[in-house]
Symmetry: D2
Subunit: 154 residues, 4 copies
């Protein structure tokens, strides 16, 4: 089980990203529709990559893609319209061809855990064939954010 | 104003398509979220094209695309989770580079009008430059469905 | 691991539902966006319930809801715009307060497996407190479709 | 035609809001799917209201809702994954029971116009009956943001 990273890496392999729940992301139960969280995870992951100098678009231009091959979500509490959420994204494990991201989504106001989960991504070339993740990308994936941020910044 | 087609063409330039409202398409007002209707229009339009032998995918393979350049929706009544809706799609007008589709969405159960609207699509090549719509596509767009359907079939 | 139901129950606890991939469900990789599958699962689940006489709306009117508390998806192959998919929904397990649904999504044309997964739903009352699933609902959940269907019907 | 507000009110009846295009909001043409813009308009509108002390949630608790009854979008340029967009929201007109919002979405990087449009919202009570917009809400709708912002702030 590779769900959690060990403590020393905790702050290095973490990025935080804010999302505010949109009206259209709710459903008739009055809560955020469960599929919307995969979009929040994705937004958190893109930000994690960006802050480490990994640009999904220029990567795609080289014929490399990172489709999601497995996803898991546990819904702990409900979030509602207009709530401000914090998406915590971490890299739990990198293999030769996959990256396992884990996520925790917290309510910004009270820091309660809303959802947690993970997504396993595979590196593929054009034609969806598996490709080894380039070494420089691996070190960026496992490294800290490039520009240090102030402690209270998100 | 080219909103309505003239009566003789009414049945020729019309296709009907069923959608059932999904849970995730509702919002916390308990009704279908207004953006979802653009997806229903799109599903109706794809079906309209398919039934006239226009395959969006093979078209894309030739470097032709039909992005939406203008959309208008009037919301007449609310639709709710699990409602069965009929999307009526018509071609109102075809110009050298654009096609104007109009839509009426009805409740299948009572035939009440839920929404109506139109979308103007432009024909573009790769690089999003305007392209003349090929003559054979124009005649398909303005023609009837290729396989005749029984009166009660949708 | 309760992922699969035992063979004798296989046909009883199964419903099939068709979806056609909409344009707006694809992403810039040209494939169905991974979050869209949770919507397909949901559509399959609603149909499973409907065919056993369980109406989510009348249930909600009694103050009972079935939110998703856990979801898992494995993406085996890519699906693309306009593909016709079959969602196979089964009930894997019913506990006092939860129902575990499993899904397989197949390409209608070649019956290849596209995705599989499960969603755990909890029965809650207003205020999101856990409620015992009523006994008559349990027997419907574990039973066959109410109206027998011809073997080739979906 | 009430599309534009007169110049003196320009800054008062305007709020700006940033969105970053999510991966799942693109489609297989590689551009933002046209329905996604209604979600961006909505996010801009909610922010416009919030900055004038109008809280949609507490409003709903009083049995008042503002469903969209008409929407119009003109797509000028394409936006792509990861683009940062600015949603400019203005109130063009308030009647006894409706509010007409207009929007311009700009690319943050080069300030090019991406889309523009408007949405007409109707004030309804529970049961979707038209209700007069309360006088204090009208003056907030037509007024400036409550907390003055620095010129370069968004």
């Amino acid at each position: 089980m590779v769900w959690r990273v060990s403590e020393p890496d905790f702050e290095a392999r973490l990025s935080r990203y804010h999302v505010r729940v949109r009206f259209g992301e709710t459903d008739l139960m009055g809560i955020v529709h469960h599929a919307a969280y995969l979009g929040y995870f994705e937004a958190g992951r893109v930000e994690y990559l960006r802050r480490r100098g990994i640009d999904a678009l220029s990567w795609a231009a080289q014929g490399l893609h990172l489709p999601v091959v497995e996803a898991r979500v546990k819904y702990r509490r409900t979030a509602r319209f207009d709530d401000e959420l914090v998406v915590e994204t971490r890299v739990a494990k990198v293999s030769r061809v996959t990256v396992d991201f884990t996520y925790r989504i917290l309510d910004l106001a009270d820091q309660q855990l809303i959802t947690e989960g993970n997504t396993l991504l595979a590196c593929v070339g054009d034609g969806h064939k598996l490709r080894r993740i380039p070494a420089d990308v691996v070190s960026k994936l496992l490294g800290p954010e490039l520009s240090p941020r102030a402690p209270n910044e998100v």
